[in-house]
Symmetry: C2
Subunit: 108 residues, 2 copies
């Protein structure tokens, strides 16, 4: 694997890594319905606000969300709606796996 290929896959991995956390996926899902401020997301997620803020900064530096300060709050919005396809694909996969395991159990 040459350096250029390596770099390309590292870049992709960085985005996937940013998404690879339940709370972050949940927030992305919420933001797909419209922008939210940190306090709203904090209430929904149920973790400490500092934790939520850090998760958001991970998503932001990966380019998944964008933030905008308005008044006293910071509003986050989904910057790349195409990530929603990720989630759909993941669900599909999960369902298929579940069905497979069920089949396995039935056969035996």
């Amino acid at each position: 694997m040459d350096a250029k290929t390596q770099a390309r896959f590292e870049a992709r991995a960085r985005i996937l890594k940013a998404l690879a956390h339940p709370s972050r996926l949940f927030m992305v899902d919420q933001l797909s319905h419209g922008e939210c401020c940190v306090c709203e997301l904090t209430a929904m997620v149920g973790s400490d606000m500092s934790t939520v803020s850090k998760h958001l900064s991970v998503l932001k530096s990966a380019g998944v969300v964008a933030d905008e300060k308005r008044g006293m709050q910071v509003y986050y919005r989904l910057k790349m709606p195409c990530v929603l396809r990720f989630l759909d694909c993941a669900s599909e996969v999960i369902e298929r796996c579940a069905r497979e395991q069920l089949d396995m159990a039935n056969i035996r």
Copy 2:
């Protein structure tokens, strides 16, 4: 976030986490062109075979790949080709980000 929602997003995160590594993404990409045995992948990735094997087991337990022992080798194949859409989406995102940063630089 209730327990059921939590579980749903955890399941999704598990798949994304399995994909979120440059070597694993590379292997998935290779497998999209057809099955490979561990030794072939090892040669392509350039890490220790034990490392490659562990990466493959991560992908396998996430349901992304399937393995089959034939003769002396173990062949891996892509079990869910839909993950390729993930990669396309990721590339799209990366390009967009790169373009954006370029624009930012030009404006200033």
